[in-house]
Subunit: 433 residues, 2 copies
């Protein structure tokens, strides 16, 4: 760092987010300098293909194909990684941290698989590793979890963290579209990839859930630890039935801290769920994200905004850059702490209310057989609705709070019933607790 408070940024990657960041520094750099005394300069930009045209103006010599050279350049004070992927991003970030350079990253995939290693490297070097942009784009979430709630105990985090699936579910809810129609619309608008697996099967949400749980509870949770179900099985009937019962169907990322044998356990999962219409998450529409946080003392909080997009994500990156640059100038870091080992609660110990739809034969005695399967596993039923007739007959059941293990055993029994043609969606119900 030079004496004149210029902070020289090495930018790794110049796609949507990187280009938006360069533009934002150009637009707002003077205002940042006036307020903080820090002059931000995007000094070097490493990209895969230096010949490709970029949508932003870069001085000659700024672009380079040598990412390692940028990280090791003694003229670079701070590294911003927006290239994505595991390698070479992981090695580059570790190299930067070991060299005592703060790092700001938007790399969700990397943090959800190698977070603990990166956090340790940052702690060891005493420099910042900030990553607000890695989860829910522009929404301030990491900083509030880490700083604003530093004196509180976080009990629960529930997020709508994937804009693509929230868009699809909104179309299904408000437009009566099928999943396939909602997906096609999302693809036409550029919200969904041609191969939508990462979004619709919940992989993207699971990575974010792992990062959120790590920060909220200070523990090492990886994407592989997250129980994951997507939304491809959700039908328009499920959505309509949810509405009739006073719920909206949302794909949620949930992280709970619960008392377990020998200490607190954490449950981290991604699955579609029934959210009561009066719950603040129910009003989160289209491609927006929102994260609901339950603090022991703070009570219910929610953070809402755009979870993706070049400019929103770049705004979050730049907020972190200003923070890290100020800390660098003061010779401090406000960054992450190391992560403790996670004590994960197995999914089959989850306690939840459940919604289940069953295609059944329309004849006397069927409800009795179905009810017997629930009773056998001590899952009690709070509500039953029958819809349709003849070959279209369907039972919809909502349970009291039951254990996942008991519910899954009930499902297995129901699948074996001759009078049950098809076991449909199993949706967990978000309770008021």
């Amino acid at each position: 760092m030079t004496g004149d408070s210029t902070v020289r940024i090495g930018l790794l990657g110049c796609g949507n987010v990187g280009a938006a960041l360069v533009q934002l520094v150009a637009d707002n750099g003077d205002a940042v300098a006036a307020r903080t005394g820090l002059r931000l300069e995007v000094t070097r930009v490493a990209v895969g293909d230096v010949t490709r045209p970029r949508p932003v103006d870069l001085a000659p010599g700024v672009l380079t194909g040598d990412a390692s050279g940028v990280v090791c350049d003694p003229d670079i004070d701070l590294v911003v990684e927006v290239m994505g992927g595991i390698e070479p991003a992981r090695t580059l970030i570790l190299t930067a941290l070991e060299a005592g350079k703060p790092v700001v990253t938007a790399n969700k995939e990397l943090l959800a698989t190698h977070g603990a290693e990166l956090f340790d490297a940052a702690v060891k070097s005493g420099v910042d590793l900030l990553f607000e942009a890695a989860v829910c784009g522009a929404i301030p979430l990491m900083r509030p979890l880490r700083e604003s709630l530093a004196g509180d105990r976080i009990n629960r985090v529930i997020g709508i963290v994937n804009g693509t699936t929230n868009f699809i579910l909104t179309r299904m809810t408000e437009g009566g579209e099928s999943f396939a129609e909602g997906l096609a619309e999302a693809q036409a608008l550029g919200y969904a990839e041609r191969d939508p697996t990462a979004d619709v099967e919940g992989f993207d949400a699971a990575a974010k859930a792992a990062i959120i749980a790590s920060v909220a509870f200070g523990i090492d949770v990886r994407v592989g630890d997250v129980h994951r179900e997507g939304i491809t099985g959700i039908t328009t009937d499920d959505i309509a039935m949810a509405a009739r019962l006073g719920y909206v169907v949302k794909l949620l990322a949930l992280a709970d801290s619960v008392a377990g044998p020998g200490g607190d356990q954490v449950s981290v999962r991604v699955h579609p769920a029934m959210v009561p219409v009066a719950h603040p998450l129910a009003a989160v529409r289209e491609a927006y994200n929102a994260v609901f946080v339950q603090g022991e003392a703070a009570g219910e909080l929610m953070f809402y905004g755009r979870g993706a997009g070049g400019r929103p994500t770049a705004s979050a990156v730049l907020g972190d850059v200003v923070d890290a640059a100020a800390n660098l100038r003061q010779g401090t870091s406000a960054g992450v702490a190391g992560l403790a080992a996670a004590r994960l609660r197995p999914m089959d110990e989850l306690a939840s209310q459940y919604y289940l739809s069953l295609d059944v034969a329309d004849r006397p005695g069927v409800l009795e057989q179905v009810a017997a399967a629930f009773a056998r596993h001590e899952v009690s039923i709070v509500q039953v609705l029958q819809t349709g007739m003849g070959g279209e007959a369907r039972l919809v059941l909502v349970t009291h709070i039951a254990r996942e293990r008991a519910m899954q055993a009930t499902l297995a029994d129901l699948r074996g019933l001759e009078s049950v043609d098809r076991v449909g969606s199993l949706l967990r119900v978000v309770g008021p607790e």
Copy 2:
């Protein structure tokens, strides 16, 4: 500050918030120490009446009636002010800051009248002055505005910042209650004071609006600069008509940055408004608060939670205490910058859509006279509804975007019309912009 990283807190005031803070430090102090290495100790507590029983355990000798002594005590590292009111809080905080002690305060009234003076004192001493709890209790708002959006440009902030009025309006909307009934219910539940003026006339919201505008735009806005209208004139008919038109009535605190002659101007105001039902603020019910922020790059963000209450407010105070204590240990501050002079846009230059209800005579030609009054001031009407008949006849009008000056001139003309019995509520409509 002692070498063992114990941070000795001098607490000024021990009412709801102070007592909850003492309890929170007792409950979560170990967790904070494990995570941050900081041992928080509430060393001295100054109260008005040391003989009054307190709901928390305090070691003998901690309670004192001498607030000045606490602030000046060389054993006190950090001062928390939750006593409220202007004096002696102002003098005590200034004394602490001048002595180089960081201050955390929840004092909305003081910040909204003497904020610039306090900020200057903090800047001069190079210590933190943090006040997350002063606006919307537990909701992280000051930190996101100051830090997360540090690289962005904030265009607009719209908040539901008073829980009492939001509760009353929710009862009016969902329960069909009158203002008086909603108020009585709020009083019975302890949400409203016996003298509800500060809430229902918008004084509380105006103080918060001044602080929000100061932090969002870095300018010196005082409560007296805020245009203010309360909700006492809102009728059940207004609420019903809003619903029919697709809106919910909310009391809003608004701060806009707009281009003006010679530079940006800021408009800061509190008034009831029509919020489109699909807007995220429309779903904020009961006594909850929420603040909607429009960032140039970040887009739309919203922060939601409990705006009041001892424990939520204490959670926010403690988050600030941990932050200030960490900075103190590192010999830095992340606190406020000084405030520039505000360039306020006069209220009559506001551009808005308006909703207006008029009690009128039920006879031919009335609409023509009313329309002529609008036309005379070039306010164009986008929608007219007539309800009731005879002595109960009412016209409801929604305008295109017009200037406040023109709208007020129109109102004056309407009041002079013999066919207009009463000019009812004028509500500004929150637009999609």
